[in-house]
């Protein structure tokens, strides 16, 4: 056992000497390799954590939301629909929701304005999310200026700021009273943005939805399961930016492996010949090549994953802020709860370590099996 350990250590020694002969190149390779792993691992951590938080935060979302569509676009729904929908068996409650978007030209940010069900916001007052407070530099008691649709300026006082921990759901929220909402948007009375339904028995959801779609063909019911499924497929590897990123990363891995796999240079072949002539067996040479590949790829994997974890869970994935923010001005500050997905990390490990190590070992097979006396004859 000790002999085996010593053997491996000696060979690792020489593998490192070998790598250090081209220090610049190999260090650059390690750095780039680490960066690629870092990017992929960051995405894995970020997406897993986000999905989990979505599932937990939205578990009390409405059972069903009914929207009205006009020419395929979302339109305000008459509250009167609610009475008839409430009569459907299985529906235990109908709550018309009033919510919409407001564009604030002062900072260029979009806010979500919402009228809470429990009428907890006083007239001419607003409760704002901490993201809004941050962007507009507001504190409790300050006044917020809104421009209503008919051109008038409306001043509303900030009654409360929502806690910072709720940024992920409420960063851009502005909770407003119903009268203020309707006045601001000239929102017609008797209309609501959509209807939120309470359906006690989840098995009845499909039936109820079918009935609603039947009775009101101009509406679109959205089930809670569908809402949550949106977040299951968020940042899906198969779509948009993610597929590009994955493609680039795979290409990087292929390029690294290719560099190793395209045969050995004459000098490398000569060196293997020398090793064989001084008493190294084929197995020893292959082990040496294995360690050369493993040292680089293992190190890159560990550095990349550790850095990615710190990036996502200690620094709130700040490097992703720019692409995620896009053109938006408001971006939530949040601390994700750490989630480690062993399956995806294992896949990343195999992607990182195996092809590169194999690409280092295989091409040297030929040279490694050469006759030891070949070095003498050259």
């Amino acid at each position: 056992m000790n002999r085996l350990y010593c053997r491996h250590r000696n060979i690792i020694d020489f593998a490192l000497s070998s790598l250090l002969r081209r220090t610049g190149k190999n260090v650059a390779l390690l750095v780039v390799y680490t960066l690629v792993v870092f990017a992929l691992a960051s995405v894995i951590f970020f997406v897993q954590a986000l999905k989990r938080e979505a599932a937990l935060l939205l578990k009390d979302a409405p059972d069903m939301v009914v929207q009205k569509l006009v020419a395929g676009r979302h339109d305000p729904i008459p509250v009167g629909y609610g009475a008839k929908i409430g009569a459907i068996r299985g529906v235990s409650g109908v709550h018309p929701r009033l919510w919409g978007y407001y564009y604030d030209p002062a900072v260029g940010a979009n806010y979500t304005l919402l009228v809470p069900d429990d009428r907890s916001v006083a007239p001419e007052a607003v409760v704002i999310g901490s993201g809004v407070a941050r962007t507009r530099r507001l504190s409790e008691g300050d006044f917020m200026t809104f421009r209503s649709y008919d051109g008038k300026t409306v001043m509303l006082q900030v009654a409360r700021i929502l806690p910072a921990e709720s940024e992920l759901v409420a960063a851009d929220l502005v909770l407003i009273g119903e009268n203020d909402f309707r006045a601001l948007f000239a929102f017609p009375d008797g209309m609501a943005t959509d209807l939120a339904l309470t359906v006690r028995n989840p098995l009845e959801l499909a039936t109820v939805a079918a009935k609603i779609a039947d009775q009101f063909p101009d509406t679109r019911p959205i089930l809670k399961s569908e809402m949550l499924r949106t977040y299951d497929s968020i940042f899906d590897w198969r779509g948009g930016v993610m597929v590009v990123m994955l493609g680039v990363a795979l290409l990087a891995f292929i390029i690294f492996a290719w560099d190793r796999a395209t045969g050995l240079s004459a000098e490398e072949r000569k060196e293997i010949g020398i090793l064989k002539s001084i008493g190294w067996e084929t197995g020893d040479v292959l082990l040496l090549r294995f360690w050369e590949g493993a040292i680089v790829s293992l190190s890159a994997f560990f550095f990349g994953v550790i850095l990615a974890y710190c990036h996502v869970f200690f620094f709130s994935a700040s490097l992703f802020e720019h692409p995620l923010k896009g053109w938006g001005v408001l971006y939530p500050q949040f601390r994700l709860v750490p989630v480690v997905d062993p399956y995806q990390l294992a896949v990343l490990f195999f992607l990182t370590v195996v092809p590169y190590t194999v690409a280092t070992v295989i091409p040297s097979w030929r040279a490694a099996t050469a006759e030891p006396d070949a070095a003498m004859r050259s």
Binding site: F14, S277, E281, R377
Partner: protein, 241 residues
């Protein structure tokens, strides 16, 4: 001692460039002495050295090692070990522990230090690093090149490289030293130095085998047997099959 019985080595058998390097050679290398293979280039000296040193296997004929103790093959075979039929793994094991090679081109690894070069043959054996390192440093000291221990070999002179190669050949404490044209890159003074070192090996009881066409070597008083070769065959000094 090492016995060769009707050994033939053919390269590229069956192809257009088939070439017989060693033809029907029978030879006995005595233990503890200096045997010199003499002959012009192309006479098969180098190939014969590789056959004796377990570096390659003969196309036909037998190579037998007798009375040479090696840990690689535990069975104490009174009749000697026939190495011609052994699989590569055993062959390498025997070679590593029994033979030390000094190549004509030195065959040192570029880009690593002298010390590491000397220790290299012992790496895959799994021997403890500390012990190997001590031995390597002792060897460097013995040949007066300790000050170069951490230097890259690119910076050394021919004579110094020669001594590094010798040190490397001795790292596994072999019973037999094999040198191929050791004085080819050396001037007369250094060549005589080399023979002095050979003398010290002989005094220590090792068997030495040198292939050379340098008179300083084959006319040296240290040479116990001179085997003359030409065109792959022994013309003088061999033994009957």
């Amino acid at each position: 001692m090492i016995e060769l019985a009707r050994v033939t080595k053919r390269f590229n058998a069956g192809r257009a460039n088939e070439f017989t390097a060693v033809r029907d050679v029978s030879l006995t290398v005595a233990r503890g002495g200096v045997t010199v293979l003499k002959g012009p280039s192309g006479s098969g000296k180098t190939t014969l050295l590789t056959l004796i040193g377990c570096m390659s296997r003969p196309t036909s004929g037998r190579v037998v090692l007798r009375g040479i103790r090696t840990e690689a093959v535990p069975a104490a075979d009174g009749d000697g070990i026939e190495i011609s039929g052994l699989p590569e793994r055993f062959l390498t094991g025997i070679r590593r522990s029994t033979f030390g090679f000094i190549f004509q081109q030195f065959n040192l690894v570029r880009g690593i230090t002298v010390l590491e070069n000397v220790m290299l043959p012992a790496y895959p054996t799994g021997e403890a690093y500390g012990a190997v390192r001590t031995r390597a440093l002792d060897l460097l000291e013995r040949f007066g090149i300790t000050r170069h221990a951490s230097a890259r070999i690119d910076l050394l002179s021919g004579g110094e490289l020669q001594r590094v190669a010798i040190a490397r050949a001795l790292i596994n404490e072999p019973a037999v030293i094999i040198a191929d044209e050791p004085t080819a890159h050396l001037d007369s003074a250094l060549s005589r130095d080399f023979m002095a070192i050979v003398g010290s090996f002989k005094a220590a009881g090792r068997t030495i085998l040198i292939a050379s066409h340098d008179p300083i070597v084959f006319e040296s008083p240290l040479a116990d047997a001179v085997v003359e070769m030409r065109d792959g065959g022994v013309i003088h000094g061999g033994s009957a099959a």
